[in-house]
């Protein structure tokens, strides 16, 4: 996929465009040339987000902003928490109200109008929405326009595409504890900085699917995310993973323009298959391969979004086969967690083989856990799949001193076993990491397997033989072949 930087001849007259290193990284602010969202390729293919509206769930959008006004979708906007048809960032008690406008600019700031910068999908529209907890009302609002949750009902059954920032809690937090980030129905996005390192506020989290870019380590004022700002202004300093998520929403808008029939699961598969490691790196969490060869990182997920690759694959994408859910197994007896060392539990599963709901190719895996301890923040939970892929479900969170509530049927989720065969022995390790000795008891571990029964990529067209899709498809074909040979051998033997 190497492209010479000089080949890119995207010319925009927007004053901040050359500072939007996350769109086209030529090394600005000590960044790494080529480490960007590869939007130039998608734009050159003609995808700019036409016909797609992205709802920004935050504190309203400055729809008066000259760089946003032409792409503001008033019809699809509504603030249910205050019954405001056109949520506008007005006074709030802490004056922190620019976020919606900054996000909107990242997604669809108009191009070539000499104002601020350019949105990732600069011909898409943005709508101002409100807080998530009243989404059920949103669902009822102009169904034809609205991307609804629960996902499988929105967009005429294709499902809501829901992007969520993985969180800025740094080493004190783990976004698997965040119900939105760790949900299967949201694409949880982490951020890297412009030279491929992690941000200082980065959270470890196995539910992260992919990454885009934000600030996070450098004092250089131009290493932040350049976008629109309140009251007609521009900024270079949008920050945090919350600035990374809208970039992803913009890339998904490009993919939806390439194929409006993409379901919410298609978008997650495309994300896994087209995201790139590129030059993302972290000292602590190395890049690893899962059981079917997909490279992932505990912070970056499957890599940085690649808009060019995504729209190319989306164009000819066939919707993935139906998803099934299987309870792989469950341990309900209380198990003491030792103060030193680990509690190690295993569950051997046939992934409901022979039943209607068997799962053969994994997507999301959930470990539903009930655990109590003298200090919840010192709990550390890892899970390893039968194919040897280890995920950190919960890392230490020094500021959480809870000793009463614990975790009650909390669905810790990992995306790291994507595409793997779930049959075999799963290992759960629970221990304490902290200053003082702690005690605890695990009362439940239920393994939930979500995925398809048939190979998800068999019908996809392979264009790039070096791609993850080609590799995965080869694996699938080989496994299907092995199983067919095994079946025929068995039938021959049984005849004889």
């Amino acid at each position: 996929g190497y492209r010479d930087i000089n080949e890119i001849d995207i010319n925009m007259n927007d004053p901040l465009f050359t500072k939007q290193w996350y769109l086209i990284n030529t090394g600005q602010a000590d960044g790494t040339p080529g480490l960007d969202l590869n939007v130039a390729e998608a734009w050159e293919l003609g995808y700019t987000g036409k016909g797609v509206t992205i709802g920004i769930m935050d504190d309203g959008i400055d729809y008066l902003h000259p760089d946003l006004a032409s792409n503001y979708n008033a019809q699809a906007s509504y603030d249910f928490s205050s019954n405001d048809p056109y949520p506008y960032p007005r006074y709030t008690d802490d004056w922190f109200n620019s976020h919606g406008t900054r996000c909107a600019g990242e997604v669809s700031a108009a191009a070539n109008n000499n104002i601020c910068g350019v949105g990732v999908a600069y011909n898409s529209k943005v709508a101002g929405r409100t807080y998530i907890k009243i989404l059920c009302l949103i669902c009822l609002y102009r169904l034809n326009l609205t991307r609804c949750i629960p996902p499988f009902q929105g967009r005429g059954g294709k499902g809501s595409i829901y992007v969520w920032a993985s969180g800025d809690g740094g080493s004190y937090d783990d976004c698997n504890c965040d119900g939105y980030a760790s949900s299967m129905w949201t694409i949880s996005i982490n951020s890297a900085i412009n030279d491929g390192r992690t941000a200082l506020y980065d959270e470890s989290c196995s539910s992260t699917l992919a990454s885009t870019f934000s600030n996070g380590r450098k004092r250089n004022p131009e290493a932040g995310v350049a976008t629109t700002d309140l009251y007609g202004n521009c900024t270079l300093r949008h920050s945090g993973t919350s600035a990374a998520a809208p970039e992803a929403a913009g890339v998904f808008a490009l993919a939806l323009e390439a194929n409006a029939d993409l379901t919410w699961r298609d978008m997650q598969h495309l994300t896994v298959l087209t995201s790139k490691r590129n030059q993302l790196h972290d000292e602590v969490h190395q890049w690893r391969r899962n059981g079917v060869g997909l490279e992932f990182n505990h912070l970056f997920g499957y890599g940085v979004l690649d808009a060019g690759a995504m729209v190319t694959m989306a164009k000819d994408w066939k919707t993935v086969p139906e998803r099934f859910h299987c309870v792989g197994g469950s341990i309900q007896e209380a198990q003491k967690i030792p103060s030193t060392g680990k509690l190690v539990l295993t569950l051997t599963t046939d992934a409901c083989e022979g039943k209607e709901n068997f799962v053969r190719y994994l997507e999301h895996v959930q470990a539903v856990i009930t655990v109590n301890s003298t200090r919840r923040g010192d709990l550390n939970i890892n899970m390893t799949s039968p194919m040897g892929t280890k995920s950190i479900l919960l890392s230490r969170r020094p500021r959480d001193d809870d000793s009463k509530v614990g975790f009650d049927k909390w669905p810790f989720m990992t995306t790291h076993s994507w595409g793997e065969d779930p049959r075999g022995t799963w290992v759960l390790e629970v221990g304490f990491v902290g200053i003082l000795p702690q005690k605890g008891v695990l009362k439940e571990w239920t393994l939930m397997l979500h995925g398809t029964q048939s190979a998800p990529y068999i019908d996809q067209i392979v264009k790039d033989y070096q791609s993850k899709l080609a590799m995965s498809k080869k694996e699938e074909l080989e496994e299907e072949l092995d199983e067919a040979v095994e079946r025929s051998l068995k039938s021959i033997l049984s005849k004889n």
Partner: protein
């Protein structure tokens, strides 16, 4: 249930006329900024930097002067939100 907070933004709708007329009216009554709403015909936001960004009492003086102007169809001082960020 909490008392409203009035901001220094006013929604002003005109019977007709364009941006130039809106700018004239804004200047006449001491407003520092005018911007057109993209989705409301003849609808504008007026900003008044002399007013506090958030205050407990409506600014009747500005409200009434705008409403009395024959060119103005409607003037509404915008209310703020007690929005809690996640």
């Amino acid at each position: 249930s909490d008392p409203a907070v009035y901001t220094n933004h006013f929604l002003v709708e005109f019977h007709h006329g364009g941006e130039a007329e809106a700018a004239q009216v804004a200047a006449a009554y001491g407003f520092h900024g005018v911007r057109k709403l993209p989705f409301v015909e003849d609808g504008y936001h007026f900003f008044h930097n002399g007013l506090a960004k958030g205050r407990r009492r409506r600014s009747l003086q500005h409200q009434l002067r705008l409403e009395k102007d024959p060119r103005v169809k409607k003037a509404v001082q915008q209310i703020g939100f007690g929005r809690k960020k996640r």
